[in-house]
């Protein structure tokens, strides 16, 4: 596939991620911080996000399996996930976290379990999208700004 086609595919794909609210302008901020001296910045931050999120999702699953749920602990994990998703611009994940925190405050187990499923789902969607975008990037070179 030639570079021009790849770049167009990348531009279109990226546009769709914004359009469907998988990503918001914070992701653009990250891209603007990347330059020749720090060419892997976005990939590095996103990779940290993946690792951190997976850890948090595991902790959340464990915390919600307990006989007596510690909602403060659950809330603390969701707060972290909300923060990191906001920092990279993963808007849909962030939005679910907001609802999730409300259920924590209400100590609503069912609501929390539902949100956990939702946040896992949104996380896996945005992860796939970002990985696809990085693949196109790797094949085509740089992101045209």
């Amino acid at each position: 596939m030639d570079v021009v086609k790849l770049q167009k595919q990348l531009v279109d794909y990226r546009a769709s991620l914004y359009h469907e609210a998988f990503l918001d302008e914070q992701f653009t901020q990250l891209q603007e911080l990347q330059d020749e001296n720090n060419p892997d910045f976005v990939v590095e931050v996103v990779s940290l996000f993946f690792e951190d999120s997976e850890r948090l999702l595991n902790e959340l699953a464990k915390a919600l399996e307990q006989q007596s749920i510690d909602f403060k602990r659950v809330d603390a994990h969701v707060h972290q996930l909300k923060g990191s998703s906001s920092s990279i611009g993963a808007q849909r994940v962030q939005k679910v976290c907001i609802t999730f925190r409300n259920y924590c405050e209400e100590q609503n187990v069912e609501g929390c379990l539902k949100c956990l499923q939702q946040v896992k789902h949104e996380y896996s969607l945005v992860k796939t999208k970002l990985e696809t975008m990085f693949k196109i990037l790797a094949a085509g070179g740089s992101i045209p700004m």
Partner: protein, 213 residues
């Protein structure tokens, strides 16, 4: 580049989130600051050379060898919500220390809670940034950093730098970005808070230049 002065400024960034540490480090380095990041308030105090006993002797003169910092830090930027010592606790400890109280402290938070913000500002924080922090936010740090260096000499130097900065295309581009970002939603909250609490903050020198443009 007239940015030589900034490479001398050393900022200590404190955040328990590894993602946010990476982000703030990049933002600060892009703004030509030297950066050290730590993941907790206690590590920050350690880095600043503050030991438990020092805070119980607020009248200890700065010349005392016990209070001497290993490395000079010109500004501390810290997250508010951290396990153990919060950003607010860290701010308090710094302001209570005779050796550290002149270091400007900036608080960051993902939550826009007015009472939290005023509490921090009252305790002596110079600025309160909402996360995610942007490059345009970091432009607000410069006046605070300039204050900590020797006053008159640097004010003159700063005026000269602003004149040449005004002419540089990169600076104009940064200001354009700042202006564009100000027209977008989220920054309005920050501006509202600033305007309400301190008239001086609405007129740092960069805003002066922007209005001229």
């Amino acid at each position: 580049m007239g940015m030589a002065a900034e490479s001398q400024f050393h900022v200590l960034a404190v955040d328990d989130s590894i993602i946010d540490r990476k982000l703030i480090e990049r933002l600060l380095k892009t703004s030509s600051y030297q950066v050290t990041t730590v993941d907790s308030g206690s590590k920050a105090l350690e880095f600043l050379g503050l030991h438990e006993d020092d805070t119980t002797n607020p009248s200890t003169p700065c010349v005392s060898p016990n209070n001497h910092q290993e490395v000079e830090v010109n500004l501390v930027i810290t997250d508010y919500c951290m396990p153990g010592m919060t950003g607010y606790d860290l701010l308090k400890k710094i302001k209570e220390s005779s050796s550290l109280r002149d270091i400007p402290v900036v608080i960051m938070s993902s939550e826009n809670v007015p009472s939290r913000i005023s509490r921090c500002l009252e305790e002596g924080a110079e600025e309160f940034f909402l996360k995610p922090v942007r490059l345009s936010d970091l432009n607000k740090l410069r006046p605070h950093l300039m204050k900590t260096k020797s006053k008159d000499q640097h004010q003159k130097q700063e005026k000269q730098e602003e004149k040449s900065a005004f002419q540089s295309p990169k600076q104009q581009q940064q200001e354009k970005e700042e202006h564009q970002q100000q027209q977008q939603s989220s920054n309005n909250k920050r501006k509202a808070i600033e305007e309400g609490l301190s008239p001086e903050r609405t007129r740092p020198r960069y805003n002066g230049i922007t209005t001229v443009v």
